[in-house]
């Protein structure tokens, strides 16, 4: 990754641990979209109201689900998922590494949205919501998710206080 990761997380690669990873990514989003606004330890302050946060978390959850389901085959002893997160002014990069089964992302086709698909939408959603979705088969398999934010979309402490 271009920027040095500032936050690292390792969790077992199961759906039960997805909430831990999502929380960390959501907080990292806020360090980008609302820098300088101190948040509380309280749940009430946690939200995905900022589109940047909602979009990144939605994309991340799809990729995380895929790793737990496809790469690790829903096994609870399959291995770990490792996040390396780089928070920069105006951009968030999340690298995800797993040691599950690699696959050929080139053969995954876009869903035919006119036929009301009942699957195959996860990667499409992630690509649509992020600026960069890169997959490199491993081991370890690597996903690099990048999203940049328009300066006008950053919530400043001042703007928030006057709201």
């Amino acid at each position: 990754m271009a920027a040095r990761p500032t936050i690292r997380l390792i969790v077992p690669g199961t759906l039960a641990h997805r909430a831990v990873a999502v929380r960390v990514v959501a907080e990292a989003c806020r360090l980008v979209s609302a820098p300088g606004i101190e948040r509380t330890a309280d749940g009430a302050a946690y939200d995905l109201r900022h589109p940047f946060d909602a979009e990144f978390v939605s994309a991340f959850a799809e990729i995380y689900n895929n790793i737990a389901i496809h790469a690790y085959g829903r096994r609870t002893d399959g291995g770990e998922i490792e996040l390396a997160i780089a928070v920069e002014p105006g951009a968030l990069t999340v690298e995800i590494r797993d040691r599950g089964a690699p696959f050929d992302i080139g053969v995954v086709s876009s869903p035919d949205l006119d036929s009301l698909p009942e699957g195959g939408m996860g990667i499409h959603i992630a690509r649509a919501l992020l600026d960069e979705v890169v997959y490199e088969p491993g081991p370890p398999n690597l996903w690099r998710l990048v999203k940049r934010i328009a300066p006008s979309a950053v919530t400043t402490a001042t703007a928030d206080a006057s709201a």
Binding site: R18, S58, P117, I125
Partner: protein
């Protein structure tokens, strides 16, 4: 609350309220309710998503399954009340038109 749903029947119409998060972990909980609506050949199903905070591709797949299966037995499905992240996902997948949101 991870997910909450509530079915209320009034005449030909079944109202299905889904609240919380409809995702890979919670969507399976909805399946028995969908099965019942299909089995009973309900003529009209209204899906009220005004309480839905989060959806993922598995949640969308569950709603698509509901839509297709109810229609396959001659029923109608409308989706109302979608907002925020779920609405954005429906638009992204161009399902807002199908669901006539």
């Amino acid at each position: 609350m991870p997910i909450q749903f509530q079915r209320t029947d009034q005449g030909d119409e079944s109202m299905l309220r889904i609240a919380g998060s409809l995702d890979v972990l919670t969507a399976p909980e909805l399946m028995p309710t969908i099965d019942a609506l299909v089995e009973e050949r309900r003529p009209r199903v209204v899906c009220d998503l005004s309480g839905l905070d989060i959806i993922d591709s598995s949640g969308v797949a569950a709603l698509v399954a509901l839509y297709k299966r109810v229609r396959a037995v001659g029923g109608q499905v409308v989706v109302v009340g979608a907002r925020d992240q779920p609405l954005a996902i429906f638009k992204l997948l161009r399902m807002d038109k199908v669901f006539s949101i």
